[in-house]
Every structure is written in structure tokens, then in C-alpha cells.
Subunit: 387 residues, 3 copies
């Protein structure tokens, strides 16, 4: 596969060669599908925002992501580029999940996966399975709300007092901070409360009271105090904090996930690396925050996949105000291994076209462009997560 | 007229030919000027956002829309492309409204007009007149607030009780749902309340009480309960609901027309087709909603005209997260028939350049691009409005 | 220096020549560094949003602005284009502040500077010094909050009553309105209150009461009543009002500086020219306001510098809905004279590429493009500030 097929004349050769082979760190990713999915399941898995089945009057292949799957993944499965949707789905179904994953993952050129294991257990591969299928190591991200939920659920049976919650939560974070596998944490406050909450550090008493209340119905943690508590506790242990921002399914109120609403948190928290994830359509706001705060970083993962060829414009906009040391690569792939591959393909292609345009116009040197690729593709992640 | 003049090398030939001749459904449009306008009136009519006359220190021709009028409409009136503003205005004045409209409308390549008749009565053509001038049929959109206002005004004389409002409003909607001419409804909540209102379905008692209050001063309906009532009633009858979103005159608070503020409505309403109109500068948010909800669709009409050649960037951004089955074409032209033509010309040109770029880079096939044109240009409207 | 080096083929020759030599009015700028700065100081001065030193793990040269400094300023200092960061910093240090400024300012092609003197006294040149270093005249902008602070501080010793504040503030504005040097005023409400305040005109009694309260702790004026008072008083004297909007350091809450939040002010104030400054990432919203209100104008200064080569996309987006008579040029340079030069270089280059693209596609004539350059580059400022 040549990620610059069709546009090779627009990307200086040295930069193109570098981008073809650079090893990336995918700093926010999930497992690949561990089980076979039917056509309806596959269609739903390539729509991020809806929580319903794709309606009968359309196919989700008719989207920028669908076009990119047919363009880039079909050849990896032995079909011609742009194979039709039916043909493509038939072919991927023939292969079975493991074979499909190994074929697609092999082309991603990812050096290391940093896996969020907080969602989809059973349906997608574990970090160990992902590592095995791809031949590359996998680190882990601890999802704070999920950990709190597990503690609260277990507490229903065995705890003598909600005060134990603080103790156990802190103990679990201490263990995470010591673990060689866990390199950071993540909050999905976007889904649970939105960002327009009181982000100040709560007192232990308040946390205990809220934990007690949450134990009554612990399945879905939505208490802003407990969410803020988790983030502050993680930060105080020096653990990087990933934050889901913007684009996601419609359970969230998108306008309440504008990263600017995080200003009170960013100003008050211990200055561990904060990683704003996805960020679309607020990526310009995220870039601003990455210039404004030493500890703030961001990516445009997930959106790169869903915008397909329009990821070129997105990546150009992401390269506006943030220093190059503050941006990272991720796919945010979840489920279809097409997404693990496409994140990488589309990012490489877009970086080549955007930075290649800069080089061709004399706005920077080819060596500068290659250095920017290396920083965003891997070096920043290595520094942030101390890999 | 060749909409690809000057850029033909950038648009693959088959796609260009298709776009030159494809018949569009203009799914949201108003009448063309029925009376002659003087220079000041014309200048004001090509500024969307202001409600004042254009100031003496400038001409509205000095705008992206003004450049596009001189570029594309002058030749249709027998002038050279880029004729000066004075020359252009003199020429259009010579022709008179009917001749001007037939000349310009003839080049729009519109198969069917779907006309919002809720504003500008007398100054602009009726749907019947528009159909006659263009030789193409016109369907109609019922403006909900306008219908409510008419009922409330008539009620001042003849109603025994405000309860009649519910009965009559429902009766009028029932009739609309049966009418072969009316294919949908529209709300201008953007202008009356903004979107940050309580969108839950009100009880009949509350509606009656609000109707009683509104009858005291019925000229301009701004009661959020009555507005929400209208939308829910229309939806429950299966009538598509158009929603003015974003770009419009300064009577609205633009930030309170961010379509994300409609989330409570979109989650709660009967899932009839919702058509988010215009959407600029919130078109990325609109595209997200179109991915998130089966029943949500959008367009970037009105803005395409006002951005002139920059509509290329807008249309590129509109093709980011929404499935291709969820986007429609409209001009939102009101008054000068230049706008009825330009909407079509600029959309065709931009679609050719954006999709043509995709094809040339190998990101999709030419057949894909042509299919996307057909979906957005006409097929989606045919499905949504059951034409 | 040729601002079209590397892209000459994309800019029609007549337009390029015009842009190479057009004299600009930099309608919002600050002084150039008056004292030598060390490496840490220089790095901090090319990061707008942070208020901390640049962290040790990075250099601010690794940013779009850093690339542009190395690209465009290095040759002016006798280095090759793209000289390394260390080499560049060593060379600029050799020259000393005055020599550095005269070299860089000489290439800016600025006809007149309009200088905001409200910040940085002592560290940067006065308007007189800037005029001398550049050989071009400098007008001044009066910062409203700063003037109020000075009055309140002096009042701590000598005033018999806070009522004097109104009298003195008005007297100072009357003097400003008569001054041949002062051509306008500026508010930094963005930094002090955000825009979501009550913008109605306060009564004299309320102002006096607030002034009395502010005298208790007058160092930083943050009272929304006093801020609104200042703006209304300036407007009533016919003085243009510049408003800091959007992009700036993290002391402001960026989302509370969306210019749409100024709607209540724009609707209520005396219609003197309002100049929305910077505006990124809300420049589309600013363009809309410039179409909606006769008295509203805007620029994308500051952001043009910080986006480096990506200013091309920004300037394209700024040319969407605003009439060309409503946009101005500024650098918002403060400190390093690199910024005074780059604002001009990047603006010329971007205008050439954006408008040149329009001309090449036949979307406007070269004469139109040149006229747009002249309006935005100087004529609109001449009209607005009655120069």
C-alpha cells in the first residue's frame, strides 16, 4: 500500500518516504472486533454518533469514512480499490475476525498501542490480544469512571462505610501509578456530566457522601463531584489524564464538551499531562489550550477516520496555534480493525499533503516537516507517557 | 453558461458533464421579486444580516456575493462577465421583474421548487407564479408560527374561547398533511425565541393558556410553549419540519441558534424528517447531528450564495461527518432571482471542485461522486418529502 | 524580500506586484521591544496564550510562528532562510533592539501605525520611538480601562467624592476626541469581565457608586458597569471603539469572548465604528456581525502571525460574509519587531494566494482583487479613523 497514491506529486519525496515508514504510537485506541459482526452491526460500528441501527433508506458506506474503507482497506483484503460495499462486506466476512485484524493491523505501522480498556469488554480484543495480532506491544489507560463504578458496585456487598471508597479508589490509583502496564488515565466526563461542572477539588467528606448516594444506583456514575475527585486524584499521582472532548455518540451534549469549558480544571489541577482527545469540531479551541497551558496536549483522532479524505483539512486546522510538541497521533479505533489501519493511513496522507504543501511553498524545510511528523507521530507520546 | 469555466481542468469530465445538467430540487426557497426595486432596495436585498439600508460609504456589490452576481448573472443578462456594479444594475432595471426572473430562472436547472410562503407576500412571486416563470412545478412549506399568528388574529373577533386555538391549529395541520401542495412545515424559532427553550411537549391546557395570552398582542408569536407545540403537532402528523438554523438577519441572536441547542427537541420529538436549514457557521455541528440522528438532515443554503466563491470551502466542510443521504440542496433565494440562479451555479461548481478533487486524488470513483451529487441534489429531497 | 517566493506561479503578476508594494495601515499595533531580551524572554514573547515560561521539553520555535520567523526574518538579518533557532536567536541578539527594529520595520511597508499604548510601558517603544525607528507616523489608541484605572488611582489621594470620576473620565475623553494624536479607543472587557455582561448604559449614580467601590482596590478594573460606561461614553463622543475579541492569553475565558455575546452592546450603542480585533477562532462570527451592523468592522490580526503559513486558510475564511469595506489590516505586534514585519508579510502573501486563486478561477477580475487589497489594507482604516 502506498499512502500517497494519486497525490505523490504533491509530497516531497523525502517527506513521503519518511511518512511511509515512520512508526507511530497510537496513544488512544481500543481493541479490535473479537467476534464476527453482521452487516447491520458493521454499518452501525462505522457511525460514531448514532446509537440506533442505520436506517433502511441508506448505507453508512455512503459517508466519507465508507469511501475511505473501500479505497484503502479493500486492497488489503485482496479486492480492487473502491470495491463496492456489498463485495467489501462479503470479503471481510469470509476472513473472520482474527485473520481480518492481523491483515489490517500489519499495515498500520504502529510501534505501540495505548489501549483504553474501559468499554466494550468481550466484544473487542484485550490489549494482550491486540499486541499478539499486531506483533507490537500494548500499554493501557485506566478509565476513571469505570474504576469508580466497579468499586461502588463491589461495595454494595462488602463495604462497612462509604469512606472506604476514598481509600480503595486511592489505593487503586496508587497501584496504577506503579503498574508497568498502565501509562495514564481517562475521564469520560463529557458523557456523564458535560464540562460545565464545578471542577474544584472536593473534600473527602463530600466525596464520601456522594459515594454513599451513588451506591444506591451505581451502574452509571454521573456525579460531578466524584468525577472531579477522580481527575484530581489521578493528577496528584502524576498520572497523565486523557479527556474525551467533542465528537462522540449522541449520549453527550456536544456543545457542553467544548474544551474551553475545562478552563477551571486546567487552571486548578496538578499540572500532569492532559490529553484532549478527538476535539472535533472544537479542534481550534483545543489547539489554543495547548498553546496556553504547558501541560495541555491534544489530538484529532476519531475525527480523522470519520472525515475520510476531509481529514486533510482537519489536520491543517489542527496545525494552527498549538506548538508541535503538544499534539499527538491517535486513531481512537474501536471494533472494526479497518479503523486501526485507516487512522494511520489517513494521518500519514494528510500530514504529507499539509506539510508537503508547506515545504513546496518554501514555508519550512523538508527536515522541519520530518521533525514535526516525528514529534506528533511518536516523540510527544514517548515523553508524555514516559514510555 | 458553463459553471466550470476557469476550473475545467480540476473537474473530471464525466462528473463535470453530470453537474452541468443534473436537475436539482431546491428544497427551501422563496419567491422571486414581483416588483421592480431601486438600487438601494437591491443592495439591501443582497445583504442578509443587516436590517438597515446599506451605508453610503460602501456598496454591497463589494462582497463575495456581489462578485458572484457580476461573474455569473451579468452574462445571462447580455453583459460581459464581471460587468461593473452600475452597469449591472442598469441592465437588470431595464428588463423588469418578470423578464429578469424568466431569464435567470431558466439557467438554474431546478426540477422542482419547494417554496416557503411565510414571508414577503406581495413583494415576491407566489409558488404558482414561480412555477410559471420557471416552467417547473412548485410545492409548498407551511410556516408554523405564521399559521398560528393568523389563527390568533382571526380569533380576536370570532372565538368563544382560546381552546379553539388547539382545535383549529390541529385542523389546519390535518389539512396540510392531506394537501397535495404542502410537503412540509417550517419553524422560525431561531427568530422568535432562540433554541435554548424548553422543547418538551406542552399540555393542551398550557397551550390554551398561552394562546389566550398571545391573543392580547398576536402580531408576533414569541411564546416558546406555542412554538414547541407547533413543532410537536407537525411531527406527530408525519410532516417534515424545516428549522431555520444560524445565518440570518440580526433579529436573531446567532449564538442562540447553534443547532446543538436543539438536542432536547431532536431526542424527544416524533422522528419525522428534520431539515436544518443554512446552518452557517454551525454547519459542522449540523453535520454531526445528521450523523447522530436518523431523522436529521441539513443543508448549507443561503450561505452558499453569500459566501460566493468561498462556498467551495463551505461545501467541503459540509461533507465531513454527515452521511451523504442526510444532506440536501437549497438556495434559500428570496427576492432577486439572481439568488435563485446563483445557489445552483455555486453549488454545482463547488461540488465539482470538491468531489472532483476527491476523484483526482483517487479518494473515490467518479461514479461515487456522481451518485453523491444525485443524492444531495435531488434524491434525498424526493425521499424526505415523498415527492 | 519577495513575499511570493515559492508561490509566484499562483498569484497573477499585477496583483502580486501591487501586494509587494502596497502601503498598509497597521490599525492595531503595540511598540517594539525597547530592551534586549534573553532566549527565555524571546520564546515567551512568541507564545501569545501562555503566561508561564516555555517548558524545558520544547522550544516555541517549533510552532507555525516559529517557522515563519526563521523563514522570513532570518534573511532580513543576513542569515539564510530557515536558519536554525539557535543561530537565529544569536544573530538577533548581536544586533541590539534598535538596530533589530529598524531592519525589520523597514520591510513591513506600513504607511502608518495606530498604536495601543495601554500595556507594556517601558518594555516597548513609545509611538514616537516607533515612528522614528520606522520612518512612518504613529497615531494612538486610548485604552479605556487603563484610563479609568489611572483616574481611580489618582483619586485615592485627591478626590473629595467619587462623583468626580464621571467628570474627569468625560473630560479625558473630550480631550481625546480633540487630540490630533488619538484616533480611537479600545476596551479589553474580554480580559476583565468577558462579554456576557449587562451592556446597557448605566446611570451616573450607578457609575459613581461603582467608582467609589473600585477606589478601594483600583489596580485592576473589573467592574462591568464601569466597563460598559467607558464604551458608551467613548461612542457618544464619536470615537471609534476597538474591542479585543477571542485569541489572547489565558487570563481570559476564550468562550466568553465570542463576539456574538456583544450583540446587546452592538444593538444599543451609538453607531460609531466598532473594530473587532483578532477574533480567532470566532472570525466567522465576526464576519457575520460586520455584515449585520453598519458600524461593525473586524480584523484577524495577531492570529495571522501565530498561524504562520496557515494564515492563508484564516484569511480565506475571513473573506466569507463581511463586505470588503468592513475588514482591516493589523499585526497586533507587541515586543519582538519580527511580529511587526511578519503581520505584513503573511497578510500580503495570504491575500495574494486567496485573491489570486479567485482571479485565476475567473471568480473576480484582477482589478477587483487589487481594489479589495486597497480597501482592507488601508482605505477602510483611513475612513474609520478619519485619517
Amino acid at each position: 500500500m502506498d499512502v500517497f497514491e494519486g497525490v505523490a506529486a504533491e509530497v516531497p519525496e523525502g517527506l513521503a518516504d519518511h511518512l511511509r515508514t515512520a512508526r507511530l504510537i497510537d496513544h488512544h485506541v481500543h481493541g479490535a472486533s473479537a467476534v464476527a459482526v453482521d452487516r447491520a452491526g458493521f454499518e452501525a460500528s462505522i457511525n460514531e454518533a448514532s446509537t440506533d441501527p442505520i436506517p433502511a433508506f441508506m448505507t453508512q458506506f455512503d459517508s466519507p469514512l465508507g469511501l475511505s474503507i473501500r479505497r484503502w482497506c479493500a486492497p488489503v483484503l485482496g479486492l480492487p480499490a473502491h470495491a463496492g460495499a456489498d463485495e467489501y462486506f462479503a470479503r471481510r466476512s469470509e476472513l473472520g475476525p482474527a485473520e481480518l485484524s492481523s491483515r489490517l493491523l500489519a499495515h498500520a505501522g504502529v510501534e505501540r498501542w495505548i489501549v483504553d480498556t474501559g468499554f466494550g469488554g468481550g466484544l473487542v480484543t484485550t490489549p494482550e490480544q491486540l499486541a499478539e495480532l499486531s506483533g507490537r506491544p500494548a500499554s493501557q489507560i485506566l478509565r476513571l469512571e469505570r474504576m469508580a463504578e466497579e468499586l461502588l458496585e463491589s461495595g454494595l456487598e462488602s463495604w462497612s462505610a462509604a469512606d472506604d471508597f476514598l481509600h480503595r479508589f486511592r489505593g487503586a490509583l496508587d497501584a496504577a501509578a506503579r503498574s508497568p502496564h498502565i501509562v495514564g488515565t481517562k475521564t469520560i466526563a463529557a458523557y456523564r456530566t458535560g464540562f460545565d461542572i464545578d471542577w474544584s477539588r472536593p473534600s473527602d467528606d463530600e466525596v464520601a457522601a456522594r459515594a454513599r448516594a451513588a451506591m444506591e444506583r451505581p451502574l452509571r456514575l454521573q456525579d460531578p463531584v466524584l468525577i472531579a475527585f477522580g481527575v484530581h486524584e489521578a493528577a496528584e499521582r502524576g498520572l497523565p489524564v486523557q479527556v474525551h472532548v467533542g465528537f462522540g455518540d449522541r449520549d453527550l451534549d456536544l456543545h457542553r464538551t467544548d474544551p474551553l469549558l475545562l478552563l477551571p480544571l486546567l487552571r486548578a489541577m496538578a499540572p500532569v499531562p492532559v490529553l484532549l482527545l478527538h476535539c472535533y469540531p472544537f479542534h481550534r479551541q483545543a489547539g489554543y489550550l495547548a498553546q496556553a497551558f504547558d501541560h495541555v496536549h491534544f489530538d484529532v483522532g476519531l475525527a480523522v477516520n470519520h472525515l475520510g479524505t476531509r481529514s486533510i483539512g482537519l489536520i491543517a486546522e489542527a496545525l494552527e496555534t498549538a506548538p508541535f510538541a503538544k499534539q499527538l497521533y491517535s486513531s481512537d479505533a474501536f471494533g472494526p480493525p479497518e479503523l486501526h489501519l485507516l487512522g494511520s493511513v489517513l494521518w500519514r496522507r494528510a500530514m504529507g499533503l499539509v506539510l508537503g504543501g508547506w515545504v513546496r511553498a518554501g514555508d519550512c524545510t523538508e527536515a522541519d516537516a520530518i521533525r514535526i511528523v516525528d514529534m506528533i507521530g511518536a516523540q510527544n507520546a514517548t515523553r508524555v507517557y514516559r514510555l
